[in-house]
Symmetry: C2
DNA sequence: GAATAATATCTACATAATAGATATTTACGG
DNA sequence: CCGTAAATATCTATTATGTAGATATTATTC
């Protein structure tokens, strides 16, 4: 097992999908809201930033600060965007899961 | 965020699917082989047992020792089986991912 | 009975996920 | 303008997951 392989963790995975789904409006609060709306999952805001930071380090996500344009105040939003490398990674992850789901005994069961 | 939610981690997820796919023949070596064959992923045997043990603690998997029936020796195999709770969990996980994948911007991209 | 094959178990460490408290910035009402 | 509230990000600490590989156990063959 010489060369390290890396994979999207499960939370990383859904955060990336959520960011992607939000297009130009993906920042901490909206990502959190979207996760709650779509899959009913409550995430701590800290969890989110920790994860996006890791994803940035891996080159799967980028972030840019908006100029201060908040409705009622607040720090400048940090907008996230999935990189093309990130998209490739998502695609690979999805294909692998689909392969596993497609196996006989599995598709009969779940 | 009072009550703790738990989710299948990414490795847990694929291990469960693999065990399921192997039916009555799921033990350390075959699970490892299947993962290599289907998605080209090399896993350390220790990683596998650590994970199955955790899944057992959560009630998503059970294991039973075979009588010693190995071809050429070796310790008795430990056969794994996904519990019905495990199946429910897999189903939930799959549905959530499918929801996210189905979102407009996502399905246009990956 | 020594070498080898098939398997599981153990130990230690690295990475990912979670929780929630705290800090920063701006707008609104008086 | 000042205090309060709102919107957001950042920080700190802890727990849960994932990874690696060495070691132990059991049986077979020669």
């Amino acid at each position: 097992m010489a060369n390290k392989q890396t994979f999207l963790g499960e939370f990383e995975h859904i955060v990336m999908l959520t960011v992607l789904s939000l297009g130009d409006d993906a920042y901490g609060v909206t990502v959190r809201q979207q996760l709650r709306d779509i899959i009913g999952r409550e995430v701590a805001i800290g969890a989110l930033y920790a994860t996006t930071e890791r994803l940035e380090k891996k080159g799967l996500l980028t972030s840019t600060k908006s100029g201060a344009s908040a409705q009622r105040g607040g720090k400048a939003k940090r907008y996230f965007k999935v990189t093309s490398q990130g998209i490739a990674e998502l695609e690979r992850t999805k294909q692998n899961l689909e392969k596993l789901w497609g196996l006989q005994a599995v598709s009969q069961t779940i």
